[in-house]
């Protein structure tokens, strides 16, 4: 039973991917699209095999950065979300500031951050966190607000402390929303990290992107993006898995 569904879980997306790549290959060949505009899958997949070592190494650097950036974005996102959802004043003061900061095209700041902090990890983490925390924040706010106010009757009548109310009532109620924020964030984070590395790093897939672009090596470029996307798909699957494990009542 479970084995069959496991198989499906892997086979079905795989089928879609293969389909996508085949259509891509046919289109590129059919319309004779030059490689420097859009390489055929066969080209960049070959490139992937050739360059697997470098891709793996930089891919790992990027993955680490994504994970760090994700945590650095999600944790403040959750804290702010809680404050915003619970305290009207916090909502009125913090939310506009958050939207304001979020509305600043922070990517433009990448060169400035590079000037301030050099090629260190800090500006990369900062940028990633700044760009990624918003989805978690917004979804968590909705989640914390979705709690039926009458549940507070229950928690208060038990004399629950602040922490107990949070951990036993509010957090589980908001959890499905928070996970949906995570699903968005983890995917956004991949893109962001790649762009940030492209602008501001000496390692990672984004840095390789820069190299590939400089030398007009589009097969390499797409090989890199393919790897990045696979990382994203994998991380996204991890979030789904975590959701299944942590929120068993959604499955029942």
């Amino acid at each position: 039973m479970t084995q069959i569904s496991m198989l499906r879980r892997v086979a079905e997306p795989a089928l879609w991917f293969v389909g996508l790549l085949v259509v891509w290959e046919i289109l590129v060949r059919g319309f004779a699209v030059p490689t420097f505009i859009l390489p055929a899958p066969s080209q960049f997949l070959t490139q992937m095999v050739v360059d697997y070592q470098r891709l793996a190494q930089h891919g790992w650097a990027t993955t680490q950065m994504i994970l760090i950036g994700f945590v650095a974005g999600a944790v403040p996102g959750l804290i702010l979300a809680y404050l915003i959802a619970r305290f009207r004043l916090a909502e009125q003061i913090l939310y506009p500031v958050v939207v304001f900061i979020q509305g600043l095209p922070k990517i433009t700041l990448a060169p400035l951050l590079l000037v301030w902090f050099g090629f260190s990890d800090f500006p990369k983490i900062l940028l990633t966190a700044l760009i990624t925390f918003f989805p978690v924040l917004v979804d968590a706010v909705t989640g914390f607000r979705s709690i039926d106010k009458r549940q507070y009757y229950l928690s208060r009548s038990m004399g629950a402390s602040w922490w107990q109310t949070f951990s036993k009532f509010e957090l589980p109620t908001a959890a499905p929303y928070i996970f949906s924020g995570f699903r968005i964030t983890v995917v956004v984070a991949v893109t962001v990290v790649i762009v940030v590395e492209w602008l501001n790093s000496q390692t990672g897939l984004g840095y390789l992107v820069l190299r590939a672009m400089d030398s007009s090596n589009t097969p390499l470029l797409f090989a890199i993006l393919f790897v990045g996307s696979m990382i994203g798909v994998a991380l996204s699957a991890c979030v789904t898995l975590a959701e299944r494990l942590l929120l068993p009542w959604k499955q029942a």
């Binding site: 420097f36 000037v115 050099g118 090596n217």
Partner: protein
Amino acid sequence: QDHVSVQMNWTADSAHLGFAMAESLGIYDEYDLDVEMIEGRGSAVAAQLVATGQVDLGYADAVAALNVASQGAPIRIISTIWKSGQFGIQSLADSGIEGPQDLIGKRLAVSPGSAMLPLIPVFLRANGIAEGDVEITNSSENAFIGLLTSGQVDAVSQTPENIVVPLAAEGIEANNMYFYTNGVPLASLSLVGREDKLAERPEVFSRFLEATARGWQEAMQDPEAAVEALMEMFPETEHSREALLQAAEYSFASVCPGGEGDIIGYTSAETWDEMYDVMTTAMDLSADRPVADYYTLDYTPETDVLCN
């Protein structure tokens, strides 16, 4: 050995052949220098990193460096390596664009935010072309090759290394027209230092300039070896040997625009005055400080290193 860190303008390419050659031939060792070349992300960033003191020297386009300096950054250009501008206009060979006048009525793609942007109006004016006569469209430079080959634009503004060389690799012939030779006589990639750091170890920087100039001289003599040296110094580079070799021609032309006998890395005070004139009159650079505030010839090597 004296340590000198240099913030490069970009990732390693033909603009850094001279440095790689100096390193690989042991010239820097000879001058008792321990040189660290750091790949970068644009000239402005390099100039700013010098200003914040994170590196000893920067390798940046003169226009960008002067712009940073004019906003109060305590930096000075100590040597102009690429004495002629790197930017220009590229078009497919069969487009019939040979000179500036041929651009009239054509579509020209420019990348917003790029360093060539301020140069284009100067270039047009110098050639008596009204801005409305050329249809300028804004597009990311990463689309340039596609736009050119698909015929969506007639010309693009970039460096020949970034357009002509990769097109050649695809078997497509293209032309380049430098701004420098068409009415915009501005220097390009230059070494920039911060005033206090320069004052601290004047003689070290002097040595560095001489060693570097000699590196370029050697590179021009043996381009293959220079490319080899570059690939050894920056093994991560994606550029192919052939591409680097082709680009080297453009690079060397910029180092020695005056041809044989030109002094590598040296721009005279008179030329500086002319450049400053162009920048303050045609390019909005503030003229409240004299040009002598922005450059110094104090570190120029005792003995001139000449082009051959």
